[in-house]
Amino acid sequence: MISFNSVSMRYDDGFEALKSVSFDLAEGEMAFLTGHSGAGKSTLLKLLTISERPASGEVLFNGLNLARVSEKNIYKVRRDIGVVYQNHRLLSAKNVFENVALPLRIIGTDYREVVKRVRAALSKVGLSGSEKKFPNSLSSGEQQRVGIARAVVSKPSLLLADEPTGNLDPDLSRDILKLFEDFNQVGVSSLIATHDINLLDKNNKRRLTLSHGVLIDKSANIEGQSASP
């Protein structure tokens, strides 16, 4: 599904955010990306959405070298990746239904199908009946769940999350984690960047640990291991 081969990434100001990172994420696998603040977690995810390009090395997604994807074709890659953001990035002027429907609108899904899929996604995250509400009238936990519904509504093959529980209390974090596990159960590959101990401690999934742009741990299975790198 994902394959990083000696990937380095340098920002415009010359700062090297990733240094020769290599790892693989198998189809249907779920992994956590962790590390201190500024370690390069978000940067790594940005390479997958082609929001940034690597300075060297190759980033393969479903066999496609993302470094070579032309500007014109970026949208095709992005349609196959669902992303959950820390600040959930909901549009405050649009209601819950419209927010979740956005990815389907973009790919031109038939309206009846949109209604069906949006309802299904909202029911999966436990927000049936909130379709007409506006994001600002929801709690931050609910907002995040709308963000998750939007990320999965178009059935992407890969789910990325950047600090999905950053603003939530431990109980809510656990709910969110449960959601990701549910999606993983039905075969969605996912990579979740977080330094939320609550999230990491409550599962035995694979953990990729970054430190100052270097991948220092990519254990395939860390069952029983503590959260600190």
Binding site: S42, K46, T49, I50, S51, E52, R53, E71, I74, Y75, K76, V77, R78, R79, D80, V83, Y85, N87, R89, L91, L102, P103, R105, I106, I107, G108, T109, D110, Y111, V114, D162
Partner: protein
Amino acid sequence: MFSHGRELTSALHEIIRKPLSSFVTISLIGISIGLPSIFVILGENFLSRLDRIDQSAKINIFLDESVLVAEGLALSKEIQSQPEVSMVRFISSEEAIKEFQKQTDLSEILFTLGQNPLPHVIEVVPVSFDSIDVAILVSSLKDRDGVESAATNLKWLERLYGVFSIIKSISIVFVVTFFIGLILVVAHTIGVAIQNKADEIELMFLLGATKSFIRRPFIYLGFWHGLGGGLFANIITQVSFFPLAAGVESLAQSYQSGFSFDRGGSEMFFLILLIGVFLGTTGAFLGLSKKMGEINPTRRGYSYK
């Protein structure tokens, strides 16, 4: 499917939701198209009237006072036989004064004069209205015995046409400048709309939207602004003709009956709408090409914070 129709109406909702900013742009378009339209329609009315005068252009031959009615009639017949002449009418001085009395209230003044001051007149309608042909005919008529003078109204007509063509070309320069200004105004309005939606656009790119998908609603927005402006222009134009048309018609009727003011009709209505739509969409394309360059789908990552 979220069809184009749906997007078109949602762009309209956008305007209705924030009517104030759109109103400024729409009324600017309306006024800038409306004002020249008023002048164009007025000009057309005036020109069509001039055409009618032109068709009835005549050469008036004023005869010497000494010429008798019988001699005048004979001269008329002679002139009628010339190939350059299509029609001739002899008006004796008595007939002339009767006509004059009918048209004016100056009859008393004429009676106090004690004698008829008007000469016999022969009205000549030429075959050709070409100014050179008419000039040749006039000078040949002048040379005839018993003719005091011959004159035509074509000189002032020509001058009037000249003035009109100057006004026309000045207006074209103004209108073109106006319209370029309008396109820039719409481009600015769309630019502001794009800026206000920078977050949404950024998100749409991240969700895999193509550039053309993101462009579309803004083009529809420009379309609606243009259409609204065109409608506004039509309203301004027609409303301003209410008092104007009545004035012009009563003025025209004092000269000649059967003149009715032409408000431009449906052709003008649709032309104005079309100009509005053209300006609106062109402005939108311009605004997009200026602003969308700043929104680069690659560099627009999800924000770091």
